[in-house]
Amino acid sequence: MAFQDSAYDQDRSMHNNSHLQGSNQENTEMKSKHVSFKPSRDFHTNDYSNNYIHGNSLPQQHVTNIENRVDGYPKLQKLFQAKAKQINQFATTPFGCKIGIDSIVPTLNHWIQNENLTFDVVMIGCLTENQFIYPILTQLPLDKLISKPGFLFIWANSQKINELTKLLNNEIWAKKFRRSEELVFVPIDKKSPFYPGLDQDDETLMEKMQWHCWMCITGTVRRSTDGHLIHCNVDTDLSIETEDTTNGAVPSHLYRIAENFSTATRRLHIIPARTGYETPVRVRPGWVIVSPDVMLDNFSPKRYKEEIANLGSNIPLKNEIELLRPRSPVQKAQ
């Protein structure tokens, strides 16, 4: 009954309207009178895979919160802003260390042994093919390079991550570095600089549209009690390329996930690949970037240690962020 009434209402209001409005309006109304604005009863969902087959667009382009992931969540928006601001405030000078792939291991060994440098967040790899990750992982005393607790992110294509699985799953490795999350980065379309085009071999059954990251934790951190070290559940395990993503080997999303998760200020990024001119390696405040193609070559262990001493090795707690960030429910004492 209610439905009929309101349908009548609608009709009447349309009628009234035509009296009030000019003749021009009447014309459009005459047209729209034929079409019904009654809400349809069924819930509709789209099949974007099917839609892609019929040549329209890639499924990921239909995600509605690509540009602003926390769209609709004002609290999270505030949190992201507050965190970005604080991370920026407690960031070292952007450092680059431009060395050939072969000298990466000796240089880092030198840092560990002679300079006593350790890092809390270490990222290895970027979004290109032909990376020499395996030699880095096997030759480098990573457990000495990364402090405890520490966080390791390895970015590569999924095939490569698969190949590394055997190494990372062996007992010695698995004990030191607990695999915690698998992150994914998705380019927005096939024209994207991050589209893994040449990675496509004829073997694969589906076109590849993603990069993977293996996130490991070493040492012990607890989600509920170590809020000064880690902020859990701030970011998600999925990043989609945004419009402002600049061309390069490393989209800022990759850095941001690590920065939002760990409060540590000592962050190292090793890129064991020649990325070339088309995919430049930019520098980023708060990070030491070791790569044969990084734009700057300004790293000096002494200066770095001084800066860290001034900043502190962790970003301090801030009330605003503590109030906003998602936390584990407090367990009741038994």
């Binding site: 974007y48 087959i53 024209k191 059954l205 996130m215 934790i217 395990d237 061309n247």
Partner: protein, 601 residues
């Protein structure tokens, strides 16, 4: 000093030089150059007479050109005559033109049609001057800020690399054809875009009547008023899905959206914003209609696709099998009953304990499943979560599969946004799930690269996976291929697919041989299970279909009882308080020992 005239000559005549009858013979090229009275073929002696260029000099000039622009002229490698090659095998006209432009700026720029394969020398020249004009820092920054369009027309080296990349990216025609065929044969599923204009939602929210969390009607007067201030509003309503905030007395807009949206259990008290989907019925009808007509067209085209690779030979006349399913405990089911499949989907309930380094009871049982029996060659899709990613890869390896792809299911909510809240993961929130794609053997019938390794779709009931996967699998293996889903539930059964799982309702088998083997299996089971009234009934043979069904149902009940008991025991971890009278002792004992193992761990 470069003989620019010679460069010009080479550019102008490169085709003739390389082709028969000259075929790049240096001596002959020299003769042509000299006899053709080209510019630069002679030099002034100072007294008005001209002396012809000697061959030696000609050769030196060529070498100079090569020195300045490496690889612009390539000679045949002749190891026997070391001093001088005899043949030019390749002339890089692009590089030569650039070289010539150095002497005569923009000479070729004005004359060249700027086709995509040619070097756009004007932009190159511009870039060159830019380079000279600015400081190192400026240059560095400029280099990075070049957008793709410019760099495409950049240096010839880069252009070549771009061309190489496009060549390498070129797909085999089998991919292209399969994709095209898929486009012409896959039924269209209704698609309505979602409006991304926030304003529209808020405009609509002020002009709808919502009763009992349902949109009842719209106030036309307000809508047409809005149309005046926002042109295109009505068109948008008529063509896109809108999500209208469902504002209630308790709603506090400043809190933002509810994490659960349409799946929120406290819809009548939750203070966060919820939404209602609004599609005018005219749009729905229109979409229905166009989809239907499109599908009719597709159906009328189906009989003979000219590209037949990967299709079944009787593609046009063979009808797809209806949905089939067997309710069973997968862990104790004999997979030999089912025969072989082209595609297998498995969504096991991985039982992951974060504190154990390795899988728990269920995982080891899963690993022990004889999945290797299901396919000689084919594809398997295995849903995995968290720690099971590794376990899944290992299992696939054990079953003889190679992990060939990893699909990510990007989970979206009612509004088409990725899931970013609600502590869905331990360290980070989880917005996606993983699906491993394993390949066994080297099947020739697979259609590759039709779909991409992403699924974007809405979450539904807990652990229910997106239906998009069925479409993807069908496109890959063909609609007639035998396809199996393990650990399926009632909502998973669908035409062309065989589903097994313990949560299904009853059985439904159409394939005769499967039916026969299944009956035999059940008979065997009941024999082992000792004497029981229900098992006796199965032994009776009857020709009437109805009676057969009856039998099946009873069988089913018996089977269910069995299963339930089994599960109960499993759940409570009671060892052997009650011996199931139907079960043979052996499997139970095995299970116990397994169980004991876990406790030992």
């Amino acid at each position: 000093m470069i003989n620019d005239k010679l460069v010009h000559f080479l550019i102008q005549n490169y085709d003739d030089i390389l082709r028969a009858p000259l075929s790049g013979q240096l001596k002959d090229v020299y003769s042509l150059y000299v006899s053709g009275d080209y510019e630069g073929c002679a030099y002034d002696l100072g007294d008005g007479r001209k002396n012809l260029l000697q061959f030696e000099q000609f050769w030196n000039d060529l070498r100079d050109i090569v020195l300045v622009t490496p690889k612009s002229i390539q000679f045949e490698q002749n190891l026997l005559v070391a001093e001088r090659p005899e043949k030019i095998v390749f002339l890089d006209v692009f590089s030569l033109k650039i070289l010539y432009n150095k002497f005569h700026p923009l000479y070729y720029a004005s004359k060249l049609p700027c086709s995509s394969s040619d070097v756009d020398t004007s932009s190159l020249a511009a870039a060159e001057t830019d380079f000279k004009g600015s400081h190192l820092l400026g240059r560095l920054l400029n280099v990075l800020n070049w957008d793709e369009n410019v760099s495409n027309q950049g240096l010839p080296r880069e252009q070549l690399s771009n061309r190489l990349q496009t060549l390498l990216r070129e797909k085999p025609s089998s991919f292209q054809l399969a994709k095209e065929r898929a486009r012409h044969t896959t039924k269209v599923i209704e698609y309505i875009p979602i409006c991304s204009d926030y304003l529209h939602a808020s405009l609509l929210s002020s002009s709808v009547y919502i009763v009992n969390n349902k949109i009842v009607s719209l106030q036309w007067s307000k809508i047409s008023a809005c149309q005046e201030s926002h042109s295109g509003f009505i068109e948008c309503i008529q063509s896109k899905i809108h999500f209208i905030p469902n504002i209630k007395p308790q709603t506090d807009i400043s809190l933002g959206d509810c994490s659960y949206l349409d799946t929120c259990h406290k819809l009548n008290t939750c203070r966060y914003v919820h939404y209602l989907q609004y599609i005018p019925s005219c749009l729905q009808e229109q979409a229905d209609h166009s989809t239907e007509s499109h599908n009719e067209e597709i159906e009328s085209n189906v009989p003979i696709p000219f590209y037949t690779l990967g299709n079944c030979s009787a593609h046009s006349i063979k009808k797809a099998l209806p949905a089939q399913w067997i309710r069973c405990d997968v862990r104790k089911f004999d997979f030999k009953i089912l025969g072989k499949f082209s595609v297998v989907i498995a969504d096991p309930a991985w039982n992951i304990h974060m504190n154990l380094p390795y899988g728990t009871c269920n995982d080891i049982e899963l690993l022990g499943l004889p999945l290797h029996e299901l396919q000689d060659e084919g594809i398997i899709f295995l849903w995995v979560t968290g720690r099971a990613i590794e376990l899944g890869k290992e299992s696939l390896d054990n079953w003889g599969y190679k992990v060939i792809n990893e699909v990510s299911w990007i989970k979206t909510n009612q509004l088409g946004r990725t899931i970013v809240t609600g502590r869905t993961g331990h360290w980070l929130n989880h917005s996606k799930e993983h699906l491993l794609v394993g390949l066994k053997g080297n099947p020739k019938w697979i259609n590759k690269h039709i779909d991409i390794d992403l699924i974007v779709s809405m979450t539904r009931e807990t652990s229910r996976k997106p239906d998009e996967l069925y479409g993807i699998a069908e496109r890959m293996a063909g609609t007639h291929a035998r396809k199996l889903e393990i650990f399926g539930r009632d909502h998973n059964t669908r035409p062309g697919w065989f589903t097994i799982g313990n949560q299904l309702t009853a059985n439904c088998i159409y394939e005769m041989d499967v039916e026969r083997k299944y009956q035999e299996f059940m008979k065997e089971k009941s024999k082992n299970g000792g004497t029981n009234s229900s098992s006796k009934k199965i032994d009776k043979k009857s020709n009437s279909k109805f009676q057969q069904q009856q039998q099946q149902r009873q069988q089913q009940q018996y089977w269910n009882m069995n299963n339930n008991k089994y599960y109960m025991e499993n759940k409570q971890n009671t060892m052997d308080k009650k011996q199931s009278s139907f079960e043979s002792k052996q499997p139970q004992q095995q299970f116990q020992t397994l169980n004991n193992l876990y406790f030992a761990q």
